[in-house]
Point group: C4
């Protein structure tokens, strides 16, 4: 066990595709992909997200501040600067940070009325 | 192959959010997050869990004893000392242990009547 | 890229709990946990599975032969020698092999009529 | 953090089994396994997929071009050269590439009318 904060400085997720529809009361059951970023360190950190597509150049970076000793769950739909991430298209994400962070993606799909949930551990590297 | 017990001494899980509701007979179908901790070693081990939130300081540590050569599945809702983990808020966990352990998280979500199940491998580090 | 077969010699999975019930035609929709073992090497391999419980000694080893250049999906319910793995109790597995193998667990839960599916990457070590 | 493109040159996935049926409008809800390949590098890359079975020799390689700075989601059902991958049988995949890539598998199962979704991080090696 080391005393350094747990985490890595770079993460990749390749299986993104945000449903455009859902069922059940919003916002609880809105279909979504969420970036779940833990900063277990003692200084605030800024994660930078680049989004990749099948047929055009990458977009980004989107900046997400994560204070020291906090976790943030950020809906991809809330990433609007420099531009909104489109729904129903394949996408991937690379998340980089100057400090170690731990990133996972939580996907909720309510298109077919009984929800599907998956947590994607991604790849540190 | 090594002869040391399989595992790592530190694990992180960032995608926590325990549903407050469920459907189907309890306790079998109660929505839950469970820590699944394997101690494959020959001595008892004590895992220490710190819980991180979005908007307040971390809480912990919660202590979980895992006897030698045993697995324990512990519902997060059963972690009440020093304080109960709240439902329906984003949270993360870091699990540390003086001995190698293997930790995964099993999430059962029955809010929408047909259950969703995901197993989250977390990040050792 | 190396020329050695892909894989590791030891794997752990901690989140096991086989449902006793299911819905839909059997055997297609029988709730199950399956070990999915790939032997990408050029020699047959024998995997040895030890099953861990919360409140009694581990059971095993269960032996699973995987021929060269083959994958095998084995239902945990079909592991009956030295004894059947019980349903509806928490369990963990450690899989060891003299040659590199890749192991994942596929869990199908049909208790609530619309199936849940998760694939668990486990921990090599 | 390194400046080299994120990824590995070899990936394995062992839990494949493509459902033959689904429910809901096609193609959105067609049961499927998808390879999700990110090439974050600055040169085009060619991934080579070998498919393993339980009872016959491996088939492949299937070639998938991934342009620089692009992600591709490819349905396994669309891999038809040298031959189609059969449905409803256990299979595994090894993906290799001369350049670093990140690969995950997205599985959608709509057999029982409310979809199940899982993302499988696979094993780099």
């Amino acid at each position: 066990m080391t005393n350094s904060p747990i985490g890595h400085r770079r993460w990749a997720f390749t299986a993104g595709n945000i449903p455009a529809r859902g069922s059940g009361p919003e916002p609880e059951f809105t279909s979504r992909d969420e970036l779940c970023i833990l900063n277990a360190g003692s200084a605030d950190a800024c994660a930078a997200v680049t989004v990749y597509f099948a047929d055009r150049d990458p977009v980004g970076v989107y900046r997400i501040m994560v204070p020291a000793a906090r976790v943030r769950h950020v809906r991809i739909n809330d990433l609007i600067e420099p531009e909104a991430v489109p729904l129903t298209v394949p996408y991937a994400m690379v998340v980089t940070c100057g400090a170690p962070i731990v990133v996972q993606v939580r996907r909720l799909d309510t298109r077919q009325s009984a929800l599907a949930l998956t947590v994607d551990s991604g790849m540190p590297g």
